[in-house]
Symmetry: C2
Subunit: 163 residues, 2 copies
């Protein structure tokens, strides 16, 4: 769990920690943490706001070396399948997985319309409610999407000060 002295420069996420977790996870599961996958993960972790696949492709491309979106999609499939990034269905965009939900609880995303920041949290009560609702309906869940769009606290204050 060694964190670097300076967690990240202007980045919203713990890039080094996420890469370290990915390397460990791939070693354990016998998967390949290829350069493309690593760079894709780094690009996502190096951004405060969710990125679209084409944004990622652009950031991965160099003057002579263009990365096609389809390659990014494959890397993203790998990263999401292994719990390293999340896909926001309401935005068609990707964010790193905070891993604050280690207990198998599904994630709740708070997406700010003003600044674009995404907060990933969990709630035992929401989880309980979902499980009861699913049981009542006899529905076997495969994936759960809980995304709230609105305004984060910081942007509410900023707006109040300005307006």
């Amino acid at each position: 769990m060694d964190q670097p002295a300076h967690p990240d420069h202007a980045c919203g996420h713990d890039r080094a920690g996420l890469v370290a977790r990915a390397e460990r996870l791939c070693r354990e599961r016998g998967l390949l943490f290829t350069p493309l996958r690593q760079r894709t993960l780094e690009v996502i972790a190096g951004e405060t706001r969710p990125l679209g696949a084409y944004d990622i492709a652009e950031r991965l491309s160099l003057p002579g070396r263009r990365v096609a979106a389809v390659s990014v999609y494959r890397a993203l499939d790998f990263l999401t399948e292994n719990g390293l990034v999340h896909r926001l269905a309401s935005r068609n965009a990707f964010v790193p997985c905070d891993h604050s939900h280690s207990g198998g609880e599904s994630a709740v995303f708070l997406i700010c319309r003003a600044c674009g920041a995404v907060d990933e949290t969990t709630s035992a009560e929401i989880e309980r409610g979902l499980n009861r609702t699913l049981a009542r309906a006899g529905f076997r869940p495969a994936s759960r999407i809980v995304e709230i769009e609105g305004e984060c606290g910081a942007c509410q204050e900023r707006e109040g000060a300005e307006g």
Copy 2:
């Protein structure tokens, strides 16, 4: 106008009731329930499974008279803004609003991967959990998305019977 005694033939939703609700709502709010909007709503209500905008456009088109997707999008914007249809973020598709959540509770969608059916329900417990989570984070919500993908009860039974 006159609907047959049997509510709907092979349709999954109460088409006539939804149209009646739309007419009443538009009268109350001084909005126009134009033919395009009505036909769009009817197409959505006449289908068991969620439809994409281009599917709707295709169903609305006649041999000589083609409806462009952009027109459908505008009708869909109107219908969603007025609570007559819902958009499924995980599918980029639209379903009629059951209006079972009259109490202002946000909807929970159970989407079956096997048969494509969508069940719209609500849960006071989920609502409470969401509200607490939002309050704790100081987040002001504008829209809430709760979509569970999985297998509905009927398809589980069918699968078990087949093998």
